[in-house]
Structure formats: structure tokens, C-alpha cells
């Protein structure tokens, strides 16, 4: 039996083994991934006059709103960094994360039509989503650098660029990995029961406030909850060390969270990705019947 088994190139069985993830196949479909990326980018600003410029308008308006609400009304300090720069840094990073997360968490539901007609490695869809969002992030990051440069020229920036800024590519990868991992996990869990999906959009909003975007992490120093320092609780959120490192590296805001927390986030990302891929792989086989 095992001898004749080898001639078959495709064997379709009711269930995959738990860790039977075909990454090779994903590589074979790399052309498809690149086309999905191209499609996502092209279709985003078709028939708009400002085009990619819209990617800049949105964070600009957000920052102005934060300056009024959190800076002006609530009076939350920003570690001595000019408010626009501080908020812009956080918004840029967070936007990328939340965009990727909401996009990938709807993979199965949004693509049911195409998934129901043809087979290709389903993972190529969320991967393309995360990669195509990099363009948007790149533009927003460029905007951040521009504002940064203006402050530097005027000369009154309280921001200090330091060596930790070199961690930037690594930080982006971590954001992408975390968003992808969470996204595909949520997507896999919402194919049959949509309850979680309703809850999820709301959780993403709350998550932002649990991450130091509109306030510096240093604000939580010296606060305790049930005897545990709030500062440490915040760092349990794997996004916090990433955002904090970014802000510290580029703006010199607050202080470095420490390698320990950064490695924690990194390990968290890999565990999450592995879990996400395994669950996603299990669901993709028969999700069409329940979606």
C-alpha cells in the first residue's frame, strides 16, 4: 500500500494532521501573494484624486484630535516630547497593527466567495493583507519623519534620536507578526460562531487604550493594582514593549523598557503565529460548510 501511495501527488483526506502545515506550497504560490498585494494597493485609492495622500490625512486629523482631547482637556503629559510628534509616533505604529488585525481577522468571512470556488493556500490571503498594509504604513511613517524633520529644523524638539531607532525594522516585523497571529486566530474562531467577531471590533478599540499610545508608559510608574506594579501589567500586553521601544528610539521619550520585555514580545509573537497557523490550517479544510 505504501508503495502505491507514493505515486499519488494529491491525497485528499477528511482531516489534516495537526502540524501538517504546507509552507512549501505557500512558497509555490508566491506569485499569487504578490498579485494580492498589488491588488490591495491598486484598489485602495482607485478613482480618488488625492490617492495615497489620504493615508496622511487620516493620522494628521487623529493627532489633532488627540492634542485637543488628551493633551488639552485631559492634560496628559508626553514625556517632554512635542505633542504632535508623540501622538504621531504612536498612531503610526498602532494604525499599522490595528489595520492588519481587522483585515486578517476577517479573512474567512470576507473571502468566502473566492475560497468557495477555488483552492489555493488560504494563508496567502492574510499574508498579503499584512504585507500590502506596509505601503500605507510606509507613507505614514514618512509623514512622521517629515514632521520630525520640521521640528528638528525649527530646533525646539525635545526629541532625541538614539541607537535604539535601529531596531525599527525588527519592531515592524514584530507588529506584523503579532497582528497576523491574532488575526488568523480570530478569523478561524469566527467562521462558525460570529459572536466573537462582534466583540472583536470593540476589543481592538479598547486595546489601544491598554497600549501607551495616547499617554507615556512612564505615567504608570509608581501605580499599583493588587500589589503588582501597573507598569509591569502593561508590558504583558505584547504590543506595549514594541511601541515603547519605537518611541524611545526615535523620540527619546521615557526610558527603554528593557531587552527582557522585548524578547518576551518576540517569543509571544512566535508562539502566537504557530498557534494561529495550526488553528487556521485546521479550519481551512472545511470552513466553507459553516461560514
Amino acid at each position: 500500500m505504501s508503495q502505491s501511495e507514493e505515486q499519488w501527488t494529491t491525497v485528499i483526506k477528511p482531516r489534516n494532521k495537526l502540524f501538517e502545515v504546507n509552507l512549501r506550497e505557500l512558497w509555490d504560490y508566491r506569485d499569487l501573494i504578490s498579485l494580492f498585494i498589488k491588488r490591495n494597493i491598486i484598489t485602495q485609492y482607485k478613482q480618488t484624486i488625492l490617492g495615497p495622500l489620504w493615508f496622511v490625512v487620516q493620522p494628521a486629523l487623529t493627532v489633532i484630535m488627540y492634542m485637543i482631547v488628551f493633551g488639552g482637556i485631559a492634560g496628559i503629559p508626553t514625556d517632554g516630547v512635542p505633542r504632535p510628534l508623540f501622538y504621531l509616533a504612536g498612531t503610526c505604529m498602532w494604525n499599522y497593527f490595528s489595520e492588519c488585525l481587522t483585515k486578517t481577522s476577517n479573512t474567512f468571512v470576507n473571502n468566502a466567495g473566492i475560497f468557495g470556488k477555488v483552492y489555493f493556500p488560504r494563508l496567502s490571503m492574510p499574508i498579503a493583507d499584512v504585507l500590502s498594509n506596509l505601503l500605507r504604513f510606509g507613507i505614514q511613517f514618512g509623514f512622521f519623519i517629515l514632521v520630525y524633520a520640521i521640528y528638528a529644523i525649527i530646533g525646539d524638539s525635545g526629541a532625541h534620536l538614539n541607537w535604539y531607532a535601529l531596531l525599527f525594522p525588527f519592531l515592524v516585523i514584530m507588529m506584523a507578526g503579532l497582528a497576523l497571529g491574532f488575526g488568523i486566530l480570530i478569523s478561524s474562531m469566527t467562521t462558525k460562531y460570529r459572536d466573537l467577531q462582534v466583540l472583536f471590533s470593540f476589543i481592538v478599540q479598547l486595546w489601544m487604550y491598554a497600549t501607551p499610545i495616547v499617554y507615556p508608559l512612564s505615567q504608570t510608574k509608581g501605580m499599583f493594582w493588587c500589589g503588582i506594579p501597573v507598569h509591569k501589567l502593561m508590558c504583558l500586553n505584547p504590543v506595549t514593549p514594541v511601541i515603547e521601544t519605537f518611541k524611545y528610539g526615535f523620540l527619546g521619550a521615557g526610558e527603554f523598557v528593557g531587552w527582557r520585555w522585548l524578547i518576551y514580545s518576540f517569543v509571544f509573537m512566535w508562539v502566537l503565529l504557530a498557534l494561529g497557523v495550526v488553528v487556521f490550517n485546521k479550519v481551512q479544510k472545511s470552513f466553507m460548510d459553516t461560514v
Partner: protein
């Protein structure tokens, strides 16, 4: 020849109704039984067979049950069956859109599936961009597409619009473009679901021609689902007949199609039940065909005439009426027609009250052996229908006058005009 695809005890179970808390309790129970107690899935045993028209006695249904068959390499297999017999489910399993509940499918070579044309087309992207998108989704690499791009554009006949977003296309053009991409896909195994039934006549011809090339010349294995028996017969060598999720027959395509048509034909009933009246002033009480009021009859060999008697009444005087009787093959291709009002201007006026129209049709000298479907109608030629009875009678003919047979088949071309004779 070696086996290209092997279906081994393939079954697919679906749950009926909505996803609700009941589903959740079933899921929890299933998980408890299989994962914790290591027992069999309790819901796999209770599924009922797939009969679309009967109310369900269980919440689970077997869309496919114990499918076993093999497909030889280079075979073109037609999969036929009524709606809901499991044809599309079978193709879905083979194209890995969803997994089987039990069983294994083994295949040799790349499987390309064509369950829909133009999958993944984005309305905002141009024709060219969509060719790449669609091609990649179907499993081609960028390089392969670039190599075939000119051919694809040429085949689609949309060259002028190739750099226009497809949302500006007519639906026919969209389909042409989609099929053009699919036609240039070259996997070892091709799975096709009714996509030939799209586009205009010219394009359909092109598409069927392409399918024939693919199957004949290039020795590819093709699985093809269609309700069009004529194109199934033209394209396929072997067939699989599915009924209620099970394989009813396999083998040579002609035998399988015959079996299907036998099972698909109507139950015995009175001819008059198939009448649809288009003028409220008339009523049809009884139709006798070949001496019988039932819709199944046999024309014995050496029979010269066929009698049709229509009894009815009218509350209005009917002017210039005529009876039309159409002989069709089982695939509904017209074969012969009686329509004297049209061809000879021989119409009748029917006065108010009861009427009885009698026609004695002269059967052709060479009547092919086989089965025919008959439409009976009354009309004012070129003006309007008074009544129409579609597939009113199913006739089995034993053969021609001198037993030669086969004269009245599609290949002889055209429709034979029938005539009546006096003296019923």
C-alpha cells in the same frame, strides 16, 4: 492506461438549518464524545439520504455517501444527475474547496478547477490585471501567464477593452475573459462545472471546441458536470450518474445518459395534465395520443399512423386555428414537426361549444428506434398560442417501417415535416 483519480468511500455530511445554540450543543457533545471519551462521532451515524423534496427526519444529511470510482488517465468523464444529487459537492471535494467527511481521494497530477469563470476578478482592475489575478488564483505562475497573455486576450476577443477596468465590461465580456484564462490553464486534471453554458452562441462553440481539443489532443483527464445531455454526449467518453448522493451508474457515456433519462422522465399521468392554456375561453378536457390518455406510449414497428384526438370546449369562436405536434429527442432536440397551418395554410375555425379535433399523422417511412418527447399545442399560426402541452407524451418507438431505423436522428440534419391523412 493508469488510474488518474481514485475515489475511496467518499462521503460528505452536511447539517441542515441554521447555526444556532443547538449547533453549539451538538458541537460540544461531538467534542466530548470524540476527544474526551474517544468514541465515534455520534452524528455520523444518523444522517439521512439526500432527497431534496422530502421533509428531513434528521438534522444531518449525506450529500454524498460511499462514493467509489476510478477515473483513467486521459478520460473525459461526464458527471450527471438531478439538482441536488451531489454533483457539485463531488467537484468541490476534488478541487479541495472543502474536505470530505470520510474517505480519501487520490489523484495524480495538478488539479485545476473551474467551478466558476472569473474567480477573483476585481471590478476596479483592468482586464489585463485581472488576467494575472485570475490566472494566479487558478494556480499559474506570473511567467506562465505572461507567456500566454496574447493567446488569452485573443481567445477572449476583448482586446480593445483590455486596459479598461472590468466593471465597465458587459457581463458577457467578463465571462469571455474568465473562460479565456481558464482555457489556457494546463493542469493534468481539469474539473469543470457547467461553465460552458455561458456567453453567446459563437463563444459557446469556441469554448466547446477548446474543451474538445483539451480532452482529445492533449490527453488530459477532465471531469465535467452539465445538464446539457447533448454536450455531455459530445464531449465525454465515460459517465457517472449520481442519485441522492450515491453512484447509480458508471460506464460508457451513452449507457449512463440513457439510465439518467429513464429515471428523470415523468411518472405516468394523464396527458391533459401537462396542458397550459393561454386563452381563458377554451378548456381542454381530454387528449388521446396513439389511443391512450396516458403520457407513455409505444409506437410499434410497422405502425403507419399516429392518431391524436383533442376534446375540449370554447366559449368564443376561434378563427384560423391549427394543431402543432413536435417530436423531440430525449435531449429535447426537435426532430419532426406537424404544423400544417403554418406550412400549408390549412387552418380551421372552431365554433362556440364543444369541439373534437382529430389528426391522423403519417409516420415517416424510416422512424428511428428510440425515445421521443412530444409537445402538443394549438395555435393561430404566427399569432399566438391557445394552449401548449410541453413534454406531453413520452413515446418509445420500436423502429422504422422496414426496421432500418436511425433515419430520424440529429445527424441527418434539420427537422422532418410531418403530414396528416384523412380517415380517422
Amino acid at each position: 492506461m493508469s488510474t488518474a483519480i481514485e475515489f475511496n468511500n467518499i462521503s460528505k455530511q452536511y447539517r441542515l438549518g441554521l447555526v444556532s445554540t443547538k449547533t453549539l450543543s451538538h458541537d460540544l457533545n461531538r467534542w466530548w464524545q470524540t476527544a474526551v471519551l474517544h468514541k465515534e462521532d455520534p452524528y455520523l451515524k444518523i444522517g439521512s439520504t439526500n432527497d431534496r423534496s422530502k421533509a428531513a427526519d434528521s438534522e444531518y444529511v449525506w450529500a454524498l455517501k460511499d462514493i467509489n470510482f476510478k477515473v483513467e488517465q486521459g478520460d473525459v468523464v461526464g458527471i450527471i444527475g438531478k439538482n441536488g444529487a451531489g454533483k457539485s459537492t463531488l467537484l468541490k471535494l476534488l478541487s479541495r474547496v472543502t474536505g470530505p467527511t470520510t474517505g480519501t481521494i487520490r489523484a495524480k497530477g495538478r488539479i485545476g478547477s473551474l467551478l466558476e469563470v472569473g474567480t477573483g476578478f476585481h471590478p476596479e482592475m483592468t482586464g489585463r490585471e485581472n488576467i494575472y489575478m485570475n490566472g494566479a488564483i487558478l494556480g499559474m505562475t506570473k511567467q506562465e501567464i505572461t507567456k500566454k497573455l496574447d493567446e488569452i486576450v485573443d481567445f477572449s476577443g476583448c482586446e480593445r477593452y483590455i486596459d479598461t477596468p472590468v466593471k465597465r465590461y458587459s457581463s458577457g465580456m467578463m465571462v469571455r475573459l474568465g473562460f479565456a484564462v481558464a482555457a489556457h490553464l494546463d493542469p493534468e486534471i481539469l474539473v469543470v462545472d457547467e461553465v460552458l453554458a455561458v456567453g453567446d452562441a459563437e463563444f459557446q462553440k469556441k469554448a466547446i471546441g477548446k474543451m474538445q481539443d483539451v480532452s482529445r489532443g492533449e490527453g488530459r483527464t477532465v471531469l465535467f458536470v452539465s445538464h446539457n445531455m447533448a454536450s455531455i454526449r459530445a464531449l465525454c467518453k465515460t459517465g457517472v450518474l449520481l442519485e441522492k448522493g450515491m453512484v447509480r451508474a458508471t460506464g460508457r457515456i451513452n449507457n449512463v445518459v440513457e439510465t439518467y433519462l429513464d429515471s428523470a422522465e415523468a411518472e405516468m399521468s394523464e396527458i391533459v395534465k401537462s396542458v397550459r392554456v393561454y386563452d381563458e375561453s377554451i378548456r381542454i378536457n381530454c387528449i388521446r395520443f396513439n389511443g391512450s390518455i396516458n403520457n407513455k406510449t409505444t409506437i410499434v414497428s410497422n405502425q403507419e399512423f399516429l392518431d391524436v384526438v383533442i376534446d375540449g370546449e370554447t366559449s368564443k369562436c376561434l378563427k384560423n386555428t391549427d394543431i402543432q405536434i413536435l417530436f423531440k429527442s430525449r435531449e429535447e432536440t426537435p426532430m419532426a414537426i406537424l404544423c400544417e397551418g403554418h406550412y400549408k395554410g390549412a387552418t380551421e375555425d372552431i365554433p362556440i361549444g364543444k369541439f373534437c379535433i382529430e389528426k391522423r399523422i403519417v409516420l415517416p417511412r424510416y422512424l428511428g428506434q428510440g425515445d421521443y418527447k412530444i409537445d402538443i399545442a394549438m395555435h393561430e399560426p404566427m399569432v399566438r398560442w391557445l394552449f401548449y402541452a410541453e413534454n406531453a407524451v413520452f413515446v418509445h418507438a420500436d423502429g422504422g417501417l422496414d426496421g432500418v431505423g436511425q433515419a430520424m436522428n440529429m445527424k441527418s440534419g434539420g427537422v422532418i415535416g410531418l403530414e396528416t391523412t384523412k380517415g380517422l
